[in-house]
C-alpha cells in the first residue's frame, strides 16, 4: 500500500514556466502526449462512472447467473463468486472508487494547500509549528490509523473520504509550503511588499496564481493515492459500504477466485484501479515536470557529441549561403 509521497523532490523551487496565454496546466496537456494519455484514461473511467450505472445490463448486487460463469455473450465480463454480473459491478463500483478518490483528494488539497500556503507565507513560528505538526502526521502509518478510525467510527462513505483526505494532506502541505516559501522570497513579491501591498493582496495576486498549477499537479497525484487507500481499506473489510473496485477485489479474494481460475472476477477491478492511478500519475507528473525545469542537461550520458567531416561542412555552408 503506497503511502510514501511520489518522486516530486520536495523543496525544489518550482518556477512556473511563463505561459503563452492560458494556464500552464492547459499548456502542458497540449504539449505532452503522456499527460493527454493520462487525461484520456481518467476521462474514460469518469465517463463510465457517470453514465455507466444507467447502462448496466444487470443489477450490481442481485445474482443474475451461475457462480463464476466465464465471460460470454450475455455476461461480457462473466459473473463473480456470488453470480453477480462483473460488468455491472464494475460500473457501479467505479463510481464509488472515483468519488472517494476525487473527494478525498479535494479534502487533501484544501487542508494541505491551506496549511501549505499559511506556513510557507507566514514563515517564522507559524511555519515551524505547522510543519512540525505535519511531520507527526507524516510519520503515522495512515493505513493503520484509517483502520482504527473506520473501526471505531464505523464505515461510511463520508468517514472514508474524510479519513483518507485528512491523512493525505501532509504531502500536499509540504510541497505547497516549499513552493510558497520560495515565491515569497522572489523580488517581485518583496517589491510588492515594499510598495505597501497588503498580505491578502500579495497572496491573491502573486502567490496563489503561481502555486495553483503545482497544487493541481499534487492533487491529481493524491487522487491516485486516495483510490489506492480506498481499495486497501475495502480489502480489510473496513471500506465503504456498498460496491467499489476495492470491495470487488475483496469479494474475489474471500471466495478464492484465484484458485478457482476465475480471473475475470478480480482482474477487471485490479486493472481499473491500476489504469486510473497511472492516468493520474501521468497527468500530475507531466504538469510537475513542466513547472520544474530542474532536470538540467546531464553532463554525462552514453551518447556523446559528434564530429563532422570537412566534406559535409562545405556543402552545408553552400546550402546556408543559398538558403
Amino acid at each position: 500500500m503506497k503511502t510514501v509521497e511520489p518522486a516530486i523532490a520536495e523543496g525544489t523551487a518550482l518556477e512556473a514556466r511563463p505561459s503563452k496565454g492560458g494556464s500552464p496546466v492547459v499548456q502542458v496537456l497540449r504539449e505532452r502526449k503522456s499527460a493527454l494519455l493520462g487525461l484520456f484514461i481518467v476521462g474514460f473511467f469518469v465517463l463510465v462512472a457517470v453514465i455507466g450505472p444507467s447502462l448496466a445490463p444487470y443489477s450490481p448486487n442481485v445474482p443474475s447467473g451461475p457462480v463464476y460463469a466465464a465471460p460470454s455473450a450475455h455476461h461480457v465480463l462473466g459473473t463473480d463468486g456470488s453470480g453477480v454480473d462483473v460488468l455491472s459491478e464494475m460500473m457501479y463500483g467505479g463510481r464509488t472508487s472515483l468519488i472517494v478518490g476525487f473527494a478525498a483528494a479535494l479534502v487533501a488539497m484544501i487542508v494541505g494547500g491551506g496549511i501549505g500556503v499559511l506556513a510557507g507565507y507566514s514563515g517564522g513560528a507559524t511555519d515551524v509549528g505547522l510543519m512540525r505538526m505535519t511531520d507527526y502526521f507524516l510519520v503515522i502509518p495512515d493505513l493503520v490509523l484509517m483502520i482504527v478510525i473506520a473501526t471505531v467510527f464505523g464505515p461510511s462513505l463520508s468517514h472514508v473520504i474524510l479519513v483518507i483526505g485528512l491523512l493525505l494532506w501532509t504531502t500536499t502541505a509540504r510541497i505547497v509550503r516549499s513552493q510558497v516559501k520560495s515565491i515569497r522570497e522572489r523580488v517581485y513579491v518583496r517589491r510588492a511588499r515594499s510598495l505597501g501591498a497588503s498580505h491578502r493582496r500579495i497572496v491573491v495576486q502573486h502567490i496563489l496564481p503561481q502555486v495553483a498549477p503545482l497544487l493541481i499537479a499534487t492533487t491529481v497525484l493524491t487522487i491516485a493515492y486516495a483510490i489506492f487507500d480506498e481499495s486497501a481499506l475495502a480489502f480489510l473489510g473496513v471500506g465503504v459500504p456498498g460496491i467499489s473496485w476495492g470491495t470487488m477485489l475483496e469479494h474475489a479474494f474471500e471466495r478464492t477466485a484465484m484458485t478457482e481460475g476465475a480471473w475475470w472476477a478480480f482482474v477487471p477491478p485490479g486493472l481499473a484501479i491500476g489504469l486510473v492511478v497511472i492516468g493520474c500519475y501521468l497527468m500530475g507528473q507531466a504538469i510537475e515536470d513542466a513547472l520544474n525545469p530542474r532536470l538540467r542537461v546531464a553532463h554525462l550520458s552514453i551518447r556523446t557529441w559528434r564530429v563532422r567531416s570537412p566534406q559535409t561542412v562545405t556543402d552545408e555552408l553552400a546550402k546556408d549561403e543559398a538558403g
Binding site: H299, T304, W305, R306, V307, R308, V313
Partner: protein, 332 residues
C-alpha cells in the same frame, strides 16, 4: 609551432524543438607557451562554448567541426574517447561557479589527488604531498586538503579549483569567467595568481570573460567574439588604441572607466539569432558605420596588421581612409 592551435572551429547544437543553433561559426587562434590570451564578448557570443569545445566537454546534442592541436597533436577529431587522455594532462580548466565545481561530499585534497592517480602522474603519499604543495602554491594552507568545499570562502574555493587544475602539470589552463562571482579585491588576488603561474610555470592561460578592462590589464592578446565569430583579434594595446572593428570600439565606449571622463554610450539593438542562417555582417544592425556591402556579404577575418585581424569591410582597401577617421579608439 604554437602550443595550442585552433583552426576553423564550428559548434552546432540540435535544438529540442528542431532547428540547429550555430553557436561557434569558425574561429581560429593560437596560444604560445606562457602567453595569456583573452576571449572576450557579451553573453551568447559563443566564448564559453568555444572554450568547452577545446576540451570536448559538450553535450550529446552538439556537433563540432575543425581542429584543435596541442604541440601539433590533433585532439578534437577523435571524439570524446580520444580526447580523454589529453584532459588535465595537456589542457585543464577552471569554471565560473566554483561553488558547485567541487564535489560537496568529498574533501578538497581527494579531488586534487584523483586526476593525478588516474593519469598516473603521482600516487598514494606522493600524490597527497603534491596536492598539499599545490594548495600552498595557490595560497591555501596545505592542511586545508582534508576539509570540504563548503568550508571554503568564494576566493579560497576558486584557488582550490586552480590548484586542482594544476594537478597533472597541464600545458594550457582554460579559465571560464573565473572571477565574475568574486569581489574586486579577491578578483585581483586570483588574477595575480594566474599571471604568476604563466611566468613561473610557463603555463598558457586562456581567460574567457565579458569584462573588457580585465582583459586589457591581465592578457597580452585578446580575441573579441560576436555572434559566434571572431570580430577582431590583436594585442590588447592595439585593441584599445587602434580598434579595426566597430564592435570593439563601441564596446570600449560602453565600458565606464575609473578615471576616464569620456561619455559612456550603450550599443543599441541586440545580437542576431544564431539558429538562423546569417546574411551579411552580424553586427550590421547595431554598427554606426554600416554601409550597403555590410548588409549583403559577411566580412572575412582579414590580417590588417602584424598579429592583428578584423572582420569588417571597412578594412578593405577602398574604405581604408574612412576607417582612420573612425579610429579614435576608446579614447575618442
Amino acid at each position: 609551432m604554437s602550443l595550442l592551435a585552433v583552426r576553423d572551429l564550428h559548434v552546432w547544437f540540435d535544438l529540442p524543438h528542431g532547428g540547429r543553433l550555430h553557436a561557434v561559426q569558425g574561429i581560429t587562434f593560437e596560444v604560445e607557451v606562457g602567453e595569456r590570451l583573452g576571449l572576450v564578448g557579451e553573453s551568447g557570443c559563443g566564448k564559453t562554448t568555444a572554450l568547452l569545445a577545446l576540451m570536448g566537454l559538450l553535450p550529446p546534442s552538439a556537433e563540432v567541426e575543425g581542429e584543435v592541436l596541442i604541440d601539433g597533436i590533433e585532439i578534437l577529431r577523435g571524439g570524446e574517447d580520444a580526447m580523454r587522455p589529453h584532459r588535465w594532462t595537456d589542457i585543464a580548466m577552471v569554471f565560473q561557479g566554483a561553488m558547485n565545481a567541487l564535489n560537496p561530499v568529498k574533501t578538497v585534497g581527494s579531488q586534487i589527488v584523483e586526476p593525478m592517480e588516474f593519469h598516473g602522474t603521482a600516487t598514494g603519499a606522493a600524490a597527497k604531498r603534491e596536492a598539499g604543495d599545490l594548495l600552498q602554491l595557490v595560497g591555501i594552507p596545505a592542511s586545508a586538503a582534508d576539509r570540504y568545499p563548503h568550508e571554503f570562502s568564494g576566493g579560497m574555493r576558486q584557488r582550490a579549483a586552480i590548484a586542482m587544475a594544476l594537478a597533472c602539470e597541464p600545458k594550457v589552463l582554460l579559465a571560464d569567467e573565473p572571477t565574475t562571482a568574486l569581489d574586486v579585491m579577491v578578483q585581483a588576488q586570483i588574477l595575480q595568481l594566474l599571471v604568476s603561474l604563466t611566468h613561473d610555470l610557463g603555463l598558457a592561460v586562456m581567460l574567457v570573460t565579458h569584462d573588457l578592462p580585465l582583459v586589457t590589464q591581465v592578457c597580452e592578446r585578446a580575441v573579441v567574439m560576436y555572434a559566434g565569430r571572431t570580430a577582431e583579434s590583436a594585442p590588447v594595446d592595439t585593441l584599445f588604441h587602434d580598434p579595426r572593428h566597430p564592435y570593439t570600439r563601441l564596446l570600449f565606449a560602453a565600458t565606464p572607466d575609473l578615471t576616464g571622463d569620456s561619455e559612456v554610450v550603450s550599443i543599441p539593438g541586440a545580437p542576431p539569432r544564431l539558429d538562423r542562417p546569417l546574411v551579411g555582417c552580424p553586427f550590421a544592425s547595431r554598427c554606426d558605420r554600416t554601409f550597403d556591402r555590410c548588409r549583403v556579404d559577411t566580412p572575412e577575418l582579414v590580417m590588417v596588421a602584424a598579429r592583428h585581424q578584423a572582420a569588417c569591410h571597412l578594412n578593405d582597401a577602398e574604405h581604408a581612409h574612412e576607417m582612420d577617421a573612425a579610429t579614435g579608439g576608446g579614447a575618442s
